[in-house]
């Protein structure tokens, strides 16, 4: 994995982590306006980063195979490999 790919992947993981935390918080505190606004802000950023990642480095989900000519979903490395992190 190149330095650039790792940087983008780490950014995506970080924003996804903020979403995991915010979703759990909103489950319990649904009336918190600040949390809901933060959720929408982070979600927009997540969508942007995920789209960019899939365009450059291949699908994050099986539905994200951007290429019309190659099946990239099963390309290595898989997430548990040393080189994938």
């Amino acid at each position: 994995m190149t330095r650039e790919q790792k940087k983008l992947l780490d950014e995506l993981r970080a924003v996804d982590f903020t979403l995991v935390e915010t979703v759990l918080y909103l489950d319990a505190y649904e009336n918190c306006e600040e949390a809901l606004a933060y959720y929408h802000k982070q979600h927009a950023r997540r969508e942007m980063l995920a789209k960019e990642y899939e365009r450059l480095y291949g699908p994050l989900t099986a539905a994200g195979n951007v290429s019309r000519t190659s099946w990239d979903w099963t390309k290595e490395p898989f997430p548990w490999e040393y080189d994938a992190n």
């Binding site: 780490d10 982590f17 319990a28 997430p79 548990w80």
Partner: protein, 198 residues
């Protein structure tokens, strides 16, 4: 349903394989307080919860536990890569190796295969949520014990992340218990099963 995302929740990048560590860390996959038990516990308890908010908390935490199973699997996989079988004769990992080679098999540190007894579904919202509060604390203690034995920063880093998640989940299960208690029928002063005795 679920959709798989091809990335770990938090990176696992271990330079130096160390099968002896895998032999204790495997408990957080298939041991009594491991991630497999946590995922099955929460995802099955959901069905008998009386309130949408609590169904949501169990769904979201249960799903996160699946991502934690994958992280523990990645730790075990990387700790046991490129090993020489002759080097593990007489080590704690030898017994695991002879039964499972370097496959990722859910068992406890003592070698007991995963047991569905760890799942803990009682079909009573209050019993189940109290179980979950205890489960998060027990998992946190297990991570503390692993951290007492591990020096390698490459291994400590993802284990510390997982330990912190136990603390956050404990907070959210506290909220879930409070939300359930707040909405009990006011005549149900002893908090009998709100999932069944409606």
């Amino acid at each position: 349903m679920w959709i798989y995302e091809k990335k770990l929740q938090y990176p696992v990048k271990i330079k130096n394989p160390n099968p002896a560590l895998a032999n204790v860390i495997v408990s957080q996959l298939g041991g009594p307080d491991g991630e497999l038990g946590a995922a099955t516990r929460y995802l099955n308890q959901r069905f008998s919860m009386p309130k949408g908010k609590v169904m949501g908390i169990l769904t979201d935490i249960g799903s996160e536990e699946l991502a934690h199973m994958e992280m523990i699997g990645a730790i075990l996989y990387q700790l046991t890569r490129n090993i020489d079988p002759e080097d593990i004769v007489g080590t704690p990992f030898a017994g695991y190796f002879v039964d499972h080679t370097t496959g990722v098999y859910p068992s406890s540190a003592a070698g007991v295969p995963f047991d569905n007894k760890y799942t803990g579904v009682k079909g009573d919202a209050l019993a189940d949520l109290n179980e979950d509060l205890a489960a998060e604390q027990k998992a946190r203690v297990t991570y503390d014990n692993i951290l007492r034995m591990v020096d390698d920063p490459d291994v400590r880093d993802p284990i510390k992340f997982l330990r912190e998640r136990e603390i956050v989940h404990y907070q959210r299960f506290g909220d879930a218990l409070r939300l359930t208690m707040d909405e009990l029928d006011c005549k149900n002063i002893y908090a009998f099963n709100p999932s069944f005795d409606k």
